[in-house]
C-alpha cells in the first residue's frame, strides 16, 4: 500500500513537472499525414525544440498543441489540462508567436497590447511589455510602419500579455537580420531564466543547438530522434570531418585506398574527407604522408555537430 502511494506520488510529481505531454498525435491533410504518432513531453522550465526541415510537420504539431488545429488522434496535455477538452483554460496559460506576424496595418503596439489584454483574465501591464521589448518609442506607431524586428518584438510582447506559464515560438527568427535574431535569442534565454517553459520550432540547427535543453528531430511527420543536443551528437554514428594541408600536393590515389575514408576531395595541397573511424584512418593517412616525405602544414579533425546528426538522420529517414 505504502509502495503504491509512493509510486502514485512519483507519477503525480512527474506529471506536475511536465508542462506539455503529447501522445500519439496524428494529423492528416487529405492524403498527407502531417503528424504520425508524435509523442513528446516538455519539462517545466526547459526550452524544448522541434527541429526539422520545411514541411516536416513541426508547425502542424505545434498548432495542434496550442489549439489552432484539431488533431485527428492523440492526447495533448498542457499545464496539466487536457488541451482538447479545455482549450479555453489552456489558452489562458499559454502565449504563442506564430510564423506569420499578423496584425491590422493601422493598429499601434499600445492598442494591440490593450486589445489582446482584454481577452485574458490575467494580464501584464502594457507599459512594462513595451519597455521590456524596446517598443516604448514605437508604442503609438502603426504596425505597418514597424521594422521586421520591431514587429517580431511586438509579436513576442503579445505572447507575454497574459503572463503565460508556457511560451510557444514557431520559427521566431526566420526573416530577421542577425542583430534582431541575436536580440531574440537573448530574450528566449531570458524566458528560461525567468522560469518560463518554451517550445520552439526551428529549422535552424545552430539555433536549436544553442538555445534548446532538449530537441526532437521531426521529419515526414514523425519524431526520429529526441534528447539533449549533446546526447544526440554523442550517440550519433555520424562521420568526423578531416582537413589535411601539406607543403606539396598529394596524389589522391595514395589516400583513396585507405579504409574508412569517405567523400575524399583534393584541391592542390588541401585534402578533406570524412571518416567514422577517426583513430585508425588518421594513423594510416599519416603513415602514407610520412612515407612520401611530404611535410604536413595543418591537420583538423572535427567531431560531428548537430547539423551532421540532423542530416544523417533525415537522410536515413528519407531512404526508409
Amino acid at each position: 500500500m505504502v509502495s503504491d502511494r509512493k509510486s502514485l506520488a512519483v507519477v503525480f510529481c512527474k506529471a506536475a513537472m511536465q508542462k506539455v505531454v503529447v501522445k500519439e498525435l496524428e494529423k492528416r491533410y487529405d492524403n498527407v499525414l502531417a503528424a504520425q504518432r508524435v509523442s513528446f513531453a516538455i519539462e517545466d522550465g526547459e526550452i524544448f525544440g522541434l527541429l526539422g526541415p520545411n514541411g516536416s510537420g513541426k508547425t502542424t504539431t505545434l498548432e495542434c498543441v496550442i489549439g489552432l488545429r484539431q488533431p485527428d488522434a492523440g492526447y495533448i496535455e498542457v499545464c496539466g489540462l487536457d488541451a482538447r477538452r479545455h482549450p479555453k483554460a489552456v489558452k489562458e496559460k499559454i502565449g504563442a508567436v506564430l510564423q506569420t506576424i499578423a496584425l491590422q496595418d493601422k493598429i499601434t503596439p499600445r492598442e494591440a497590447l490593450a486589445l489582446f489584454a482584454s481577452f485574458y483574465k490575467r494580464t501584464a501591464a502594457a507599459s512594462e511589455l513595451l519597455d521590456r521589448f524596446s517598443l516604448t518609442e514605437k508604442a503609438d506607431a502603426s504596425f505597418d510602419s514597424l521594422s521586421a524586428g520591431q514587429r517580431q518584438r511586438l509579436a513576442v510582447a503579445l505572447a507575454f500579455v497574459n503572463n503565460p506559464e508556457l511560451i510557444f515560438l514557431d520559427e521566431p527568427t526566420s526573416g530577421l537580420d542577425p542583430q534582431s535574431r541575436r536580440d531574440l535569442h537573448g530574450e528566449i534565454v531570458r524566458m528560461k531564466r525567468d522560469g518560463h517553459t518554451v517550445l520552439l520550432t526551428t529549422h535552424n540547427i545552430d539555433e536549436a543547438e544553442q538555445l534548446c535543453d532538449r530537441i526532437a528531430i521531426i521529419d515526414s511527420g514523425r519524431i526520429i530522434a529526441s534528447g539533449p543536443p549533446r546526447d544526440l551528437i554523442a550517440a550519433s554514428t555520424s562521420a568526423q570531418s578531416v582537413l589535411l594541408r601539406t607543403a606539396q600536393p598529394l596524389d589522391p590515389k595514395s589516400l583513396a585506398v585507405i579504409p574508412g575514408i569517405e567523400d575524399l576531395v583534393c584541391e592542390n595541397s588541401t585534402i578533406t574527407f570524412r571518416t567514422k573511424t577517426a583513430g585508425p584512418t588518421l594513423s594510416a593517412v599519416m603513415k602514407v604522408v610520412n612515407d612520401l616525405g611530404v611535410e604536413v602544414l595543418e591537420l583538423h579533425a572535427r567531431k560531428a555537430r548537430l547539423e551532421d546528426v540532423f542530416l544523417a538522420l533525415t537522410a536515413e529517414d528519407s531512404q526508409q
Binding site: I66, G67, L68, K88, A89, K91, E92, I94, A96, L98, T100, A102, L103, Q104, K106, I107, E111, A114, L115, F116, S118, F119, Y120, S142, L158
Partner: protein
C-alpha cells in the same frame, strides 16, 4: 464583455484610420445621393421619395463590400488566427464585428440623411421608426455580408461575390429601378430579394405611415437576416486555409438561401404581387386593382389622407377636398395620387389636406406640409394669380434634353419619323380621346400623346409634343386651356389614363408604359405649354 467592447473600439478606430474604408463607407453613399438628386431634380419634394432607396444602397454597399472585405482581409493576413490563440469566443468576435459595422452603417446613413435634409428634403415623418427599420435592414444585409465573408477565400472573391449580389439587387431587387418598370417575371423575382422590403420599410418611415404598416417587410428582413447570421456563424472560419470548419459547412449556405425563398414564397402566397403591391409604382401600374382607401366616417382623417396608407408617397403631397370628392365618387377609384414625381418646382404650394371643419386636435401632425393658402376649388376657378403664385417656369427641363423634349420650329424629323408625324398631324384632330366632353380630361389625353413617346424615348417624342401643342391651341380656347393646364400641373394623377391605350390609333406601339411616369411627363408638358401661352418661359427657352 470587455473583450467585445475593446474589439468594437479597435474595429471602429481602425476603420476611421483607413482612407479607402472611409471613402467606401461615407463618400460613396453621398455620391449616390448626389446622383439621385441630379436624376430626380425635377421632383416636387427633394429626394424624399428616394431616401429609402439611398439608405438601402448604403447598407447594401457596406454589408456586401465593406463588411466582408474587412473580415476576409483580416482573416487572409492571419489576424483572426492570432485571435484564435486567445481565450475569446467566436460569438464575441462576430458580435463585435457586426456591432462595429452597424455603427458604421448608422453613421453613414445619418450623414446621408443630414446632407439630404440640407438639400431640402423634408424631415422624415417617423424618425424613431426610421432608426428601428434601419436596424432591421442592417441586420438583414449584415447577415448577407457574413455569409459572403465566410464563402470568399480572398478579397478579390469578395468583390466578385459582392457584384453578384449588389447589381441584381439594384436592378431587379427594387432598389434603384422602379419595380413597375420591370418585366413581370422580374417583379415576381424581386419579392425574393431583401432590397425591396428594405426600401419599402424605410420609405414608409420617411414619407409613409411608419413602422405600423411595415409588418411584412420587417418580418421578411428578420427572416433573411436570421438565415444569413445563422449560416454565417455556422460557416465561420478563423483561417483562410480552413476551407470550412466542418465538412458540412457549405451546406449552411442553404439556410441563407432558404430564408430568401421563404420570404419570396410568403410574399407570393400573401398576394404581395405586383398587382396588389403597396408601392406607388404598382398602384399606378394597375390603378383599378389598387383603390385608395378612404378614412372611416367620423374618424379623424390622417394628415396625408389615404396616400400614406398605401404607398410611400411624400406626405407633403396631399389630397385636396376636390380630389377626395372626385376619388370617393368614382366606382373604380383613381390611381393613388402618387404625384410625388411631379416635376413642378419645389416651391409649388401643396394642396390643403386637412378638412377645415376638423377639430384642431385632429389636425395633421406638425411635420405634415399643408398649404399656406387656399387653392382654387375647381379648374374653372383658376386665375392668373393662382398660376403666378403657384408655378415657376425657370426650372423646367430643357426642350433639347431627354425629359419632355420639344422640337424647334425649324427642326426636321428623319424620313421615317416624318411619315409618322404627318399621320399624327392628320389624325390628331379626329382622335376620339381628344374629343371627350370634359375639357381637362381632353387636354390631359392630348398631353399623353406627347408624354408616352417621351417616356418610351421614341424618335418622334419631340415632334409629337410640338404637334400636340399646336392641336391643343387649335381645339381649345386659350382661357380654358390655361386653366386646364394649371389644373393638370397641380393634379397630375387625377382623371383617367385610358387614352394611353388608344394611342395605337395614332400608330404608336402598344409597348407597356409606366403610367405614373406618363402622368408626370404630361404634367411637365402642360407647364411647358402654359409657359408658352403666358409668355412666362425664361429667356432663351423656345
Amino acid at each position: 464583455m470587455q473583450a467585445a467592447l475593446q474589439q468594437l473600439r479597435i474595429s471602429l478606430t481602425l476603420h476611421y484610420r483607413n482612407k479607402m474604408a472611409l471613402i467606401y463607407s461615407y463618400l460613396f453613399p453621398l455620391i449616390f445621393l448626389l446622383a439621385f438628386y441630379v436624376l430626380y431634380r425635377y421632383e416636387r419634394v427633394v429626394l424624399a421619395r428616394h431616401m429609402g432607396e439611398l439608405l438601402t444602397v448604403s447598407v447594401l454597399g457596406g454589408a456586401c463590400f465593406g463588411l466582408p472585405t474587412t473580415m476576409v482581409s483580416e482573416r487572409e493576413r492571419g489576424v483572426w488566427r492570432r485571435y484564435r490563440l486567445a481565450p475569446i469566443a467566436t460569438a464575441t468576435l462576430v458580435l463585435s464585428v457586426i456591432a462595429a459595422r452597424y455603427l458604421i452603417l448608422l453613421t453613414a446613413g445619418l450623414l446621408q440623411l443630414a446632407v439630404a435634409l440640407a438639400m431640402g428634403m423634408p424631415w422624415p415623418q417617423h424618425p424613431v421608426d426610421l432608426w428601428i427599420v434601419f436596424t432591421f435592414v442592417s441586420f438583414a444585409f449584415i447577415g448577407l455580408g457574413l455569409v459572403m465573408a465566410m464563402m470568399a477565400d480572398n478579397v478579390p472573391a469578395v468583390q466578385a461575390l459582392g457584384q453578384c449580389i449588389f447589381l441584381p439587387m439594384l436592378i431587379i431587387g427594387g432598389i434603384a429601378v422602379p419595380i413597375a418598370t420591370l418585366p413581370d417575371w422580374a417583379q415576381h423575382l424581386s419579392q425574393f430579394f431583401p432590397g425591396r422590403y428594405a426600401v419599402q420599410a424605410l420609405q414608409a418611415c420617411i414619407v409613409g405611415p411608419g413602422l405600423g404598416k411595415t409588418g411584412f417587410e420587417l418580418l421578411a428582413l428578420v427572416i433573411i437576416g436570421t438565415g444569413g447570421t445563422i449560416a454565417g456563424a455556422k460557416m465561420f472560419r478563423w483561417d483562410a486555409q480552413q476551407r470550412f470548419a466542418r465538412r458540412s459547412g457549405k451546406a449552411w449556405i442553404s439556410v441563407a438561401v432558404l430564408a430568401w425563398v421563404i420570404v419570396g414564397v410568403l410574399a407570393e402566397s400573401r398576394g404581395y404581387t405586383p398587382a396588389s403591391a403597396r408601392s406607388s409604382e404598382d398602384s399606378v401600374a394597375a390603378p383599378a386593382a389598387t383603390p385608395a382607401p378612404t378614412p372611416e366616417p367620423g374618424a379623424p382623417a390622417p394628415a396625408s389622407a389615404s396616400v400614406q396608407e398605401c404607398s410611400p408617397i411624400p406626405p407633403v403631397l396631399t389630397l385636396s377636398e376636390a380630389e377626395k370628392k372626385a376619388a370617393a365618387g368614382k366606382a373604380a377609384p383613381a390611381p393613388a395620387p402618387s404625384n410625388a414625381r411631379s416635376t413642378i418646382p419645389n416651391d409649388l404650394p401643396q394642396v390643403e389636406a386637412v378638412p377645415p371643419e376638423k377639430p384642431a386636435a385632429e389636425k395633421a401632425p406638425a411635420n405634415t406640409v399643408t398649404l399656406p393658402h387656399p387653392t382654387p376649388p375647381s379648374w374653372q376657378a383658376v386665375t392668373v394669380a393662382d398660376i403666378e403664385r403657384d408655378l415657376v417656369f425657370d426650372r423646367l427641363p430643357s426642350d433639347s434634353g431627354i425629359v419632355t423634349p420639344i422640337a424647334r420650329d425649324e427642326e426636321e424629323p428623319d424620313p421615317d419619323t416624318s411619315e409618322h408625324l404627318r399621320f399624327i398631324q392628320e389624325n390628331l384632330p379626329s382622335w376620339q380621346p381628344g374629343k371627350v366632353a370634359d375639357p381637362v380630361q381632353r387636354v390631359r389625353n392630348m398631353l399623353y400623346v406627347a408624354a408616352v413617346p417621351d417616356v418610351q424615348q421614341q424618335p418622334i417624342e419631340r415632334f409629337a409634343a410640338q404637334a400636340v401643342f399646336y392641336q391643343l391651341q387649335q381645339d381649345i380656347p386659350k382661357d380654358q386651356l390655361i386653366k386646364a393646364l394649371y389644373w393638370i400641373a397641380l393634379h397630375p394623377t387625377e382623371g383617367d389614363d385610358k387614352a394611353v391605350g388608344d394611342l395605337w390609333a395614332l400608330r404608336f406601339t402598344n409597348d407597356p408604359v409606366d403610367l405614373e411616369q406618363t402622368r408626370e411627363r404630361a404634367a411637365i408638358y402642360g407647364v411647358k405649354l402654359l409657359g408658352r401661352l403666358l409668355g412666362k418661359l425664361p429667356r432663351g427657352a423656345s
